[in-house]
Homo-oligomer: 205 residues x 2
Amino acid sequence: MSAVDKYPSQVLQDAVDAISSLPGVGSRSALRLALSLLGRPAEEISQFAGAIGRLATDVHYCKRCMMIADGELCPICADSKRDQSLVCVVATIRDVLSIEATGQYFGVYHVLGGIISPIDGIGPSDLKIAELKDRVTAGGVSEVILALSGDVEGETTSFYLYRQLAPLGVKITTLARGLGFGDDLEYADALTLGRSITGRQPFKP
Amino acid sequence: MSAVDKYPSQVLQDAVDAISSLPGVGSRSALRLALSLLGRPAEEISQFAGAIGRLATDVHYCKRCMMIADGELCPICADSKRDQSLVCVVATIRDVLSIEATGQYFGVYHVLGGIISPIDGIGPSDLKIAELKDRVTAGGVSEVILALSGDVEGETTSFYLYRQLAPLGVKITTLARGLGFGDDLEYADALTLGRSITGRQPFKP
């Protein structure tokens, strides 16, 4: 192109650059999205930008479970119908949303904010582990469920948490691992199938 | 879910709703993008929102070709090296970017802002057709290239523009249609192949 560096407007260029910085959004998609926004009335664009901007200014973190919240406590910690003595430890907010979507859990959460990963420079002090210990030490917690991923980092973090929490005398459990519903034995990986066998459950007809 | 309506924070909910209003972005992707933004420092989130918000406030339209611009004229209309007497009429800004990307066009543009589409309630008066006529009437335009889509709406708009512009005595051309480079005759649709035959060109070895 001769006259235009890339786009005919620096404002458009900036918007495309911002949008394409999102994970999984390429520059062509970013342009498509920016032009789609540009086609809206100015007021709607401002509302859109405002909704994004408030992520920087108006999001709080629950002082009890470190989940995002609008106030001091998240809706789950503030809910008297949830079992506040059952604490499910997860890596991220998204894990909370995944477990909530099952509709099978009625306890509360503790969001670590990541998992221990030396390769990424994330150590125990970067996570909300001290807050978890304080929470257990303060009493009222009967069981801690370690709901971390099944990879090396997740297992390492689970083991670290176990070492930290076991002396406090709290019951510590972890998620059941095994074949998924509808999974075929033939296609299951050996590690998963092995865990399904060693962790076999009483048959409930 | 019991305590949370959908997300644990109305601020997150608003951001997800805004992002999922974009074309081709579902609610799961929107959540992923919102959480990714939320993981950034507050300053970066504000910059992101600012870049979007300026689409509402800082984008101008070129007073000559109706393309987006940062000032009064777009970089293409302001470029003395471009042939200002050759005007390519396109439906949208994206069409300008597509033609610019070819590196084969050295004239200027006129952005209609859409095409005539009665089913969508878009008539000639909703497009920048009067501005195009004024531009041709003012003189200095030797050729108008109709570069609209080849569907019914595009053809209708081209025909309407032809009827409006022909009395002004300007040369009116349209994009060549035919087989794409590398296209196989066997797989070409009949309409395209037919146009390739009727619009055959002198062979230049």
